[in-house]
Amino acid sequence: MARTIGEVILKVDGISLAFGGVKALTDVSFDVREHEVRAIIGPNGAGKSSMLNCINGVYSPQQGRITFKGQTFEQMSPHRAAEMGIARTFQSLALFKGMSVLDNIMTGRNLRMRTNLLLQALRLGPAEREEMEHRAFVEKIIDFLEIQAYRKTPVGRLPYGLQKRVDLGRALAMEPAMLLLDEPMAGMNVEEKQDMCRFILDLNDEFGTTIVLIEHDMGVVMDISDRVVVLDYGKKIGDGTPAEVRSNQAVIDAYLGVAH
């Protein structure tokens, strides 16, 4: 990859997560370095989405710690994660169906908006200026993702592939230091996947965004990631470069099955 990979920016330590009797994650530890593309792979139900949910505070693990940018937490809240620079997309799109593409991406700028309610109600100077500034930034993202033609369309009307782009755009609007992508290419055809890969690589190249992604398409994973974590039944069974993981016996067993 073009970017030089830096120090560890995220470390998860001994994360265990259970829902009632169901153990989603058991003692998972790994780290993510700045500017790298880290993939999390594994069969369905392995706990990949749960892991992402723990990282950005949607779920609270029963055990374990998360260290991001040098600060350690036992509980992360979604709001704090957002403030610290973690953004994510969702496997089942979590777009705001009632709003247009432009508005959806603009919500990503909310953290950086400072004017208060009264000024907004009167739409005086500072509120108007701030709105325009953020609009300009969001337009850059829209250009990057090539969705200019759809900016005023309600997202509910867009085809799936474009909705995924809007999801990505909204996460980008937060100017994140680390981006968590939950199956960004699910349900896409070959061309759409190529587009998405291009976006992800461009993000990593141009802006140096650290990317953690969950993906099932092994071709994509092996091509674009720097390092890979493999989960199975909530436990980590592999961790290393794509080549190392591809030849790991435990990983092969998990995916191909074990003869009884």
Binding site: F19, N53, V58, Y59, F90, A94
Partner: protein, 337 residues
Amino acid sequence: MSRNLKRNWPVYALGALLAIGLVLPLATGASALGFYIEVMLGGLMSGVLYSLVALGFVLIFKASGVFNFAQGAMVLFAALALARLSEVMPLYVAFGLAILIMIVFAWLVERLVLRHLVNQEGVVLLMATLGVTYFLDGFGQTVWGSDIYKIDLGLPKEPMIVGEQLFQGGILISKEDLFAAAIAALLVMCLAVFFQKTPTGRALRAVADDHQAAQSIGIPLNRIWVIVWAVAGFVALVAGMIWGAKLGVQFSLQLIALKALPVVILGGLTSVPGAIIGGLVIGVGEKFAEVFLGQYLARTFDLAGGGIEYWFAYVLCLFFLLVRPEGLFGEKHIDRV
């Protein structure tokens, strides 16, 4: 703090509050024992009646996930039907006819309202039942009239007086109230048996759990909903009959349903025993608050009269909504992303 305490402290707090509230008037000598027992009994009786209405809510929610705001209107409508029909035919015939009417109502509600709103969220369904309430209100009064009507259950009207030797003047117990309590108990037992032991009851529970899963194993959703609303209609009829015999059938009967909402929340939206216990707690608590607390507040703060009854139930349920929304016996919800 232990896990259990963390979760259950509101229940303990409520228990403590009730204990204090029940003991205080006796302990401070603010009330004679006989009067105290009368207030207690009065509270229990109105509690039983609240429970009856709350049962209807719980049934429909348990089986269809719909919070039926129209339950109160159903009570009034059923009572009106019974009252007016019994003017021209014997009571038990009128009762049977009223049951039929409620079944037809249930069928209509399923056909015209529920079927079209299957996948909507709870709030939309709530508002739809609000619409049904208004419609039923207007319709009932158009068809049956809007005066005050009587229901004659054939019970002696004079109250019994017991314990004349122990308490001054004895304690008044109304035979109607005893009858009401007995009916309520019988109804609850029948419903419990119905839900637990019969195939239809099982189907109802399956539907309450997961509409789509129930459909996929062949449970006819629409028919289930008609059954549930019919059963709730029957419960409404019984409640209306008892309330109506006691207070006369009039418009304000409907407002009692608004009182039943806190009962349902307190007990837990999905719990039949919760509806009973919640009703009793609120019935007694309300009466005690009104009689004893109300006097105290009026004297100390120079308020114009009591009226605590008006909001006691709601504030109690507000407390629970904030700290333990599932109520005393309901199921805890987990939202997954």
